[in-house]
């Protein structure tokens, strides 16, 4: 559409037809104040703060509801307008309590800002204020009625954005109040969007309220550690006697792939980090008991035992389990450590999606993997399996808002009536477990249709759906872990004729995709490169063991038979999460590094207290393949990052760590120790980094050195380092050529987390547990056995 030309405050402004005046002004750098206007939500026109003068119109107009038209001449800053705004602020402050010094929003309150910019110093309102006690609507949502300015943003974001509709407005005029859906409390997804969007302190967070002031925290934008969507979350941290405490999570930095969105986990479930059962000292089993000890002793024990097993029984006698919640750098380092130091390919992780099959199905067109942003812009989406509302909250948000704002066509095929069917153009229910036949049918095999025909959908409807999908250019096909192995291949084949089709394979944990991409597999190297063809890795690492290693079930079998002599388990709890028999670990030397004494840790010989993803740096890859930076925010004294621990273990085994982590490669730096005025002084750079809570660069503990290697050896990861460091998500490409593999579909065990659970992390999150308890459901028992 051609641009429309208008004049604002004497400045010529052009914007596409249909643009709202307030947006056109904003784009031209002219601020028009508003409370109720919020981009991408329905228009309200309630607060009257955005009044502007449009020539030839009799009264002041609300810029947030006025669509620009050719030749419009607008004034945004005249005496008349300033007076109008001043009066509006006076109205809003009429019953607003002056409790800014204790209000959570103080310092980042829009009403405060506006009162400073446009308000008056005195008020004509003499009557006593109408006070109401604050109410608790849920474990995480509190409502302070007198502070509310009735902008209705919370009502709209809850309904339109989240499709929850848990908030409403009751009564009218001066009696209007925001009301929760259950009389005196909320029954909702507890996402906290209403709190974040509240321009004042009317809605406050149970996790953060009255704890600190915004300017007393440091704010660190990092990537969420819960599900596989990879939302950017900004953590507010402050000093505590045990390091740095995380006190708040929100998305005030809306630059992430999630834009405005965060779910309950990204916003509140950081509290596992400060759980009282958090391990802060290495434990070594002595006389049958796990006994607190020092890091030095622990590394010595591990180093000597692992060396002994490797040298006596060979690498195949050691099993390594990687994590779906450690960074890419840690996963890469772990498999490199396993392969070059332990000399074994016995490495696996808790697989929640069939990424190797996905890669092998798409080797012909690696660009066909969709990013999280594509989900918001695609003209059509086919969703097979999974329940994104529960398991992938951001993905669900992207889909809902694409349908709402761009009128995308959504086709949902599921064995359950999932909530996203409310947005679907068509929802087709299939019998449980019929996803495999579905992909065959979509790929053109008509005989598979019988397995789909148990619901109300007729044969003709299925065939017409298939035809319709084939004529949807730009379709994004999203599938859950129901589709595995050869079914992934047939699903990809079914879409071969669709122009510009893209795919997303849904994994469950924060870095499930990263663990897969980094080659935490017994038969695949980083980039899903097959072991038979180690190519660059062979040269770079100076040799890779050739024999294909054991998968997790094979390792268990080997251990049960007494052949696997040592386990190295990093950030995983196979006994608890995969219900494995602890006996498989009882005959071996077991090293576990984790935050808590999990079911696996209690039977270990050495337990190392690890830092979590909020306490270290690195990168995560979300389920779509979007690479994002993980930044260190919190800190718990006594823990170490998995990265450092792996390097220290390699060191204690006598391995040259410079070969493992090629740090400082191609760089020389003088930290002021050797010459000049600073000569002889301590490493000031290092001291400064430590003091700022940052990690030392130019050291073997620098994850960026491994990122260098990853970017050098994995073509798909050769994204802009600058954009990555700037905090932008970078979409990685799938590997081309001979990559990926078809594994036994049984190796995939979905995590089955919902909105309020998150594996081990969720068990130790007080907020998530309190929400579950509040719903009168029994929380998961904390099964931490006494040693």
């Amino acid at each position: 559409m051609p641009d429309v030309n208008i004049t604002v405050d004497g400045k010529k402004v052009a914007a596409p037809a249909g643009t709202l005046l307030i947006e056109a002004c904003k784009n031209a750098g002219i601020e028009v104040p508003s409370f109720c206007y919020y981009p991408n939500l329905s228009l309200q026109g309630a607060c009257r703060m955005c009044l502007v003068k449009v020539e030839k119109m009799p009264k002041l107009q609300t810029a947030c509801t006025t669509v620009i038209s050719e030749g419009m001449i607008v004034a945004t800053n005249s005496d008349e307008i300033r007076q109008a705004r001043k009066s509006m602020i006076e109205f809003l402050l009429g019953n607003h309590p002056l409790d800014c010094p204790v209000c959570d929003a103080g310092g980042e309150c829009e009403l405060q800002d506006m009162a400073f910019s446009y308000g008056a110093a005195e008020s004509k309102y003499m009557e006593p204020k109408n006070h109401k006690e604050e109410q608790q609507w849920s474990p995480v949502v509190y409502f302070d009625r007198p502070r509310c300015i009735l902008c209705y943003r919370c009502v709209r974001v809850c309904g339109e954005g989240m499709d929850v509709w848990a908030l409403g407005v009751q009564n009218r005029g001066v009696s209007s109040i925001i009301a929760p859906n259950q009389d005196d409390h909320l029954e909702c997804e507890e996402c906290g969007m209403c709190i974040d969007i509240c321009p004042v302190g009317a809605l406050t967070s149970g996790a953060y309220r009255y704890k600190t002031r915004p300017w007393e925290m440091n704010h660190v934008g990092t990537t969420c550690t819960h599900c596989a969507d990879g939302c950017k979350t900004t953590l507010g941290v402050r000093r505590a006697d045990t390091g740095m405490e995380i006190v708040r999570g929100d998305n005030r930095d809306k630059s992430g792939i999630n834009g405005d969105f965060l779910c309950i986990k990204g916003r509140y479930a950081f509290d596992f980090a400060h759980h009282k059962e958090r391990l802060t000292q290495p434990l070594i089993r002595k006389d049958g008991r796990l006994t607190p000890s020092t890091w030095e002793e622990a590394f010595e024990v591990i180093g000597s035992r692992l060396t002994e097993v490797r040298d006596c029984d060979g690498g195949q006698a050691i099993g390594v389990l990687g994590s779906t919640r450690t960074t890419n750098e840690e996963n890469y380092l772990l498999q490199k450590f396993a392969r070059v130091v332990l000399q074994t390919n016995n490495i696996d992780h808790h697989r929640t999606a069939d990424f190797p099959a996905f890669v092998s199905a798409l080797t012909e067109r690696p660009e066909a993997a969709a990013s999280m942003r594509d989900v918001y812009n695609a003209p059509a989406i086919l969703l097979i399996g999974n329940d994104p509302t529960e398991q992938h909250p951001l993905l669900a948000w992207q889909i809902r808002n694409n349908v709402r704002l761009h009128r995308a066509r959504l086709y949902v095929i599921n064995s359950q009536p999932i909530k996203l069917r409310r947005q679907a153009t068509s929802f087709l229910q299939i019998p449980t477990g019929a996803e495999a036949q579905l992909s065959s049918f979509l790929a053109g095999q008509d005989s598979a249709i019988d397995a789909l025909l148990s619901g109300p959908t007729s044969r003709d409807e299925w065939i017409s759906l298939r035809e319709k999908l084939r004529s949807e250019p730009g379709l994004v096909i999203i599938f859950g872990s129901e589709i595995r192995g050869s079914d992934v291949v047939s699903l990809v084949k079914s879409a071969s004729g669709i122009h510009d089709v893209k795919f997303i394979c849904l994994g469950d944990y924060a870095n499930s995709r990263g663990a897969a991409d980094m080659g935490v597999y017994p038969d695949l190297l980083p980039g899903y490169q097959r072991l038979a063809d180690p190519g660059k890795f062979h040269e770079e690492w100076g040799g890779v063991p050739r024999a294909v290693g054991f998968t997790l079930p094979e390792m268990i079998e080997s251990a049960t038979a007494g052949k696997l002599k040592a386990w190295y388990v990093v950030g995983a709890n196979p006994v608890g999460r995969l219900a494995l028999d602890p006996f498989a670990f009882s005959q071996s030397f077991v090293v576990v590094q984790d935050m808590f004494l999990t079911e696996t840790a209690v039977i270990a010989d050495v337990v190392l207290p690890a830092a979590n993803a909020y306490e270290k740096s690195g990168t995560f890859t979300n389920t779509c393949g979007d690479l994002q930076l993980v930044k260190k925010a919190g800190e718990v004294t006594g823990t170490k990052s998995d990265f450092e621990i792996i390097v220290r273990i390699a060191g204690s085994m006598g391995y040259d760590v410079r070969k493992l982590v090629p740090f400082g490669r191609g760089m020389t730096a003088d930290m002021g120790q050797s010459r000049g005025a600073q000569s002889g002084e301590v490493d000031r750079h290092g001291v400064w980094l430590e003091a700022s809570g940052l990690e030392l660069k130019m050291s073997p503990f620098d994850p960026m050195a491994i990122l260098d290697e990853i970017q050098r050896l994995l073509p798909g990861y050769a994204v802009s380092r600058m954009d990555l460091l700037a905090g932008n998500a970078q979409h990685t490409a799938l590997p081309a050529g001979k990559a990926g593999a078809l594994h036994d579909p049984k190796l995939i065990v979905p995590a089955d987390n919902n909105l309020f659970s998150s594996g081990t992390l969720g068990r130790y999150s007080r907020t998530l547990n309190s929400v579950i308890e509040n719903r009168h459901k029994k929380p998961e028992e904390l099964e931490v056995a006494a040693d």
Binding site: W165, A166, L167, G168, V169, Q170, N171, R172, A179, P180, N181
Partner: protein, 158 residues
């Protein structure tokens, strides 16, 4: 919830008038209130389900309109206007008279469940002020004596 045939036919007819279902909410609420006297929790849930709305959305609308009520009212709902025209011609006195006569205040119901009293905003009968509305019937140019006979008439009519 089982509702009368009259309700069902009115509801079905009303649905044909609007492009979206939720548009029939206000008339449907009035029909339901006419039928069972007030808007019960059960009734609200029924309408919400029929119109694909949440209970909260239905309650929001009910709370906006003063003529919709979630509490049972008397058989005859006496509504006295006290807006400007009625006020000038004795609306306030009329209200006070009714309060004394019926022994109840604003938005209250007599013990026998016969009358409810309500002070309302303009009912659009300014030319014949002071005016009152009992259920859907108007009574105009009232005086306390005239009001007594109006109330008497309803009492006898039941």
């Amino acid at each position: 919830m089982r509702l009368s045939e009259q309700f069902e036919s009115r509801f079905a007819e009303m649905l044909t008038h609007y492009p979206t279902k939720r548009s029939v909410l206000v008339p449907t609420l009035l029909y339901l209130q006419d039928e069972i006297g007030y808007l019960s929790d059960e009734g609200i849930a029924e309408i919400a389900q029929r119109l694909e709305l949440t209970d909260l959305e239905v309650r929001n609308v009910i709370s906006y309109y003063s003529m919709l009520t979630t509490r049972p009212r008397g058989k005859f709902n006496v509504q006295i206007c006290t807006n400007i025209a009625c006020l000038l011609r004795g609306g306030e006195e009329l209200l006070e008279h009714c309060e004394a006569k019926l022994g109840i205040g604003h938005k209250r119901t007599t013990a026998d469940g016969l009358f409810s009293l309500e002070e309302v905003e303009c009912i659009g009968a300014c030319s014949w002020a002071p005016a009152a509305q009992v259920n859907y019937d108007f009574h105009e140019n009232l005086t306390p004596a005239k009001m007594d006979s109006v109330l008497e008439k309803y009492k006898n009519a039941q």
